[in-house]
């Protein structure tokens, strides 16, 4: 391979034998622009199908169909369908004859929405991400190479991420956006880091990979030009005159001879993603796969935006179009996918679906700038790591047991025993907080039971003696507790420590008004 290839007119190309005329490339020896940029293109050949199938594990044969009436044909088939022998282009009827298949309608809007979300997800790898409609995403990665340990490290991360999203992609890295795009369309994986290497890699590229206007491609084909290398051997002036100046510009951009700036995709301030399921699902547990995909999208989005969140809002659409919604709350703002998935799993396990679900949606608009675990503790009272472990623990319990099941306790400044304490719930449970005033009843001085009975229990009496597991023996000391006038009507009570025949100690009171009942209010356990 001659080393002087970057000067386009200098040497024959490997494909020269197939060219229309065996002449050297005619283009002016323009020096390629210096290339500080490196572009990575993700090309998703199966996007239309994957958008419809990725919500559930690939347990059934699925085909994407196109056309009307009797001319309906298979556009794409998933792996399972392919093993049945179903191929693209086959009439739908023939596909059904080969086995049980799920027919899916194509949705161009859903594809474009999915592509945009993929681009937002990819912002974790590069700040400059743009779309190559309808099936590509372009990233400027020169600045990210060090962080991800070179092109190989970056590609590995991308591949793993895309797998979790449920997409298969072809990758190409090249110094110009058009070259990366075109290479990604024809090869599973191509890496050209050096501008000088570029012409060699582009030479054999079929023109179809450039997606030129059909008229231009036809015109070139009519003179026997089918690859980029063959095209380069045409005279620049001829090319511009016979075809169009725009085509020449396209070729210049492809080779880095003309600048080709790309606008970064605008950054939305909320995350919203919907996943259509390929078939209806009637058990909430089956939604885990879809949830995992959405959470992975969210994680990439949050990383790219350097943000964390506390609130995940989910919606499920049933077959009648009705939406059912639920929320996942994080005690500590975060973006850890594994933790969120655990919470989602627990929540789905508790959930019963009113009707079979056809789509799942995740919406996050509570975005907080920052990294997980940053400045989460208001008072700095506990080491951050321990606080984080606690937050994760609480979230897990909350997801499985429900919000109401978790409570802390606190003191209240009140005289009546039932008012001298309160539950701490929700936010109060996790903020390191002052526990509240000393109780007026002065816990230290007066005897208070460790258990307070939820509803004071009326005790039966025999000859004036209250009974609980037998007759109670009352200690001589009594404590009179009267409610303040501001606490509403509550009769005064005389409290006693009572002993059961088995030696247990109880806290009982006698009402001083009304029926004068004896009631059990606490246990000195």
């Amino acid at each position: 391979m001659p080393s002087s290839l970057p000067l386009f007119d200098s040497a024959p190309l490997p494909v020269a034998t197939r060219g229309p005329r065996s002449t050297p490339e005619r283009w002016l020896p323009t020096r390629p622009l210096p290339a500080p940029t490196l572009w990575l293109c993700l090309h998703l050949p199966q996007l239309p199908l994957e958008v419809r199938t990725r919500g559930l594990p690939a347990s059934r044969a699925c085909v994407l169909v196109e056309g009307e009436g009797t001319r309906r044909r298979v556009l794409m088939a998933n792996t399972r369908a392919a093993t049945l022998g179903i191929r693209a282009g086959m009439p739908v009827g023939a596909a059904h004859a080969l086995g049980e298949v799920v027919e899916l309608e194509r949705s161009v809007e859903a594809e474009q929405a999915a592509l945009t979300r993929l681009a937002h997800w990819a912002m974790q790898f590069s700040p400059l991400v743009s779309l190559v409609a309808p099936d590509g995403v372009l990233l400027e990665v020169r600045g990210s190479l060090r962080l991800f340990q070179g092109v190989e490290g970056l590609l590995t991360r991308l591949r793993q991420g895309l797998k979790q999203l449920g997409y298969r992609a072809q990758y190409a890295v090249a110094p110009t956006p058009l070259a990366a795009t075109a290479l990604a369309r024809v090869s599973a994986r191509a890496v050209v880091e050096d501008m000088h290497e570029l012409p060699r890699h582009l030479a054999g590229l079929p023109l179809a990979a450039l997606r030129l206007a059909p008229a231009e491609e036809e015109a070139l084909a009519s003179v026997g030009v089918r690859t980029v290398g063959e095209c380069r051997r045409l005279a620049r002036a001829d090319l511009a005159r016979r075809l169009s100046p725009a085509l020449l510009d396209h070729f210049d951009k492809l080779h880095g001879l003309a600048p080709d700036p790309r606008a970064a995709l605008p950054v939305p301030n909320r995350f919203e993603s919907r996943l259509e399921l390929p078939w209806e699902v009637s058990h909430a547990q089956a939604l885990v796969t879809a949830g995992e995909r959405l959470l992975h999208e969210l994680q990439g989005f949050l990383r790219g935006h350097n943000a964390v969140t506390r609130l995940l809002r989910w919606r499920l659409r049933d077959r009648s179009g009705h939406w059912q919604s639920f929320e996942l709350r994080l005690t500590q703002p975060g973006r850890e996918q594994a933790h969120m998935l655990l919470l989602l799993r627990e929540t789905l396990m508790r959930m019963s679906l009113a009707a079979p679900v056809t789509a799942m949606e995740l919406l996050v608009d509570d975005l907080v700038q920052g990294r997980p675990g940053e400045g989460a503790d208001l008072f700095g009272q506990r080491p951050a790591a321990q606080g984080e472990a606690y937050a994760a623990f609480i979230d897990r319990l909350r997801a499985r047991c429900g919000d109401e099941a978790l409570r802390g306790v606190a003191l209240e400044a009140a005289h009546r025993p039932e008012a001298a304490w309160r539950w701490r719930q929700g936010e109060g449970l996790t903020l390191a907080q002052r526990v509240g005033a000393r109780s007026l009843s002065a816990a230290g001085r007066q005897a208070r039971p460790l258990w307070l009975v939820r509803e004071p229990l009326t005790l039966p009496t025999h000859e004036g003696i209250p009974h609980f597991e037998g007759p109670l023996t009352l200690a001589p000391e009594r404590e009179r507790i009267e409610a303040g006038w501001w606490e509403g009507p509550a009769p005064a009570r005389d409290y006693f420590v009572a002993r059961t025949p088995r030696g247990g100690r109880l806290w009982v009171y006698k009402e001083l008004e009304g029926e004068q009942r004896w009631r059990l209010h606490g246990v000195f356990e």
Binding site: L411, L429, L450, V453
Partner: protein, 212 residues
């Protein structure tokens, strides 16, 4: 392998020798004297089998819980029979910010299963000092599972069960029977009997006087 090696590995215990390791001081000298390791275990299950309510099953462990809470460890109460009354807890020195109560309305479908699940999570949660569960009947398999969870973590698992459960075999390495002595006396006296203790002869007793 020599006999000394075997003994060093602490897999063999000899009756009458305290198990290696230092227990958590219970706050009662007489009790520490009979507990293996000279105090409460810092991990694993401990069963408290109380004959009757109000005899002091909670006060028995409260000094140790209070100290754990002041060290910043969580005290997690699962399915308590009544409301843990914060004025009394705080009066006994418990740090209320470290108290977490997990319970379910009685009408909840599988409250018992949920409680066990939450308890197991608490046992496996490293920052939890002690996890308390009030439970009556428990299948042997569940008990074993809980014991494994308690041994794998760093949490002291307390199981409060009625005295009648003493008859059921249990994998818990420490089981205590509690009984009130002479009901008439004040202050109340409590008899603690080692029903089972790894590293100790079972059947040892001590008598404690508990203030309210």
């Amino acid at each position: 392998m020599s006999l000394e090696d075997l003994l060093q590995r602490a897999q063999v215990w000899r009756a009458g020798r305290a198990a290696p390791g230092v227990g958590l001081a219970s706050g009662f000298a007489a009790l520490d004297a009979i507990l293996p390791g000279g105090g409460w275990p810092t991990r694993g299950l401990t069963e408290i089998l109380a004959a009757g309510s109000g005899i002091g099953a909670l006060r028995l462990v409260l000094p140790a819980l209070a100290r754990l809470s002041r060290e910043g460890r969580w005290i997690i109460w699962v399915a308590p029979p009544h409301i843990p009354y914060s004025p009394a807890l705080s009066g006994h020195g418990l740090d209320l910010t470290r108290v977490l109560v997990v319970d379910f309305p009685e009408d909840e479908r599988n409250a018992a299963a949920q409680s066990l699940w939450a308890y197991e999570q608490a046992l496996r949660f490293d920052a939890c000092g002690a996890a308390l569960l009030w439970v009556d009947r428990l299948p042997q398999l569940r008990l074993r599972r809980l014991q494994l969870a308690a041994e794998s973590g760093a949490t002291w698992g307390l199981l409060f069960r009625p005295a009648a459960c003493a008859a059921q075999a249990s994998p818990a390495p420490l089981r205590l029977e509690l009984r009130a002595l002479d009901a008439a006396s004040a202050p109340a006296a409590l008899q603690v009997r080692l029903h089972k203790a790894r590293g100790r002869h079972a059947g040892q007793c001590c008598r404690l006087e508990l203030e309210i």
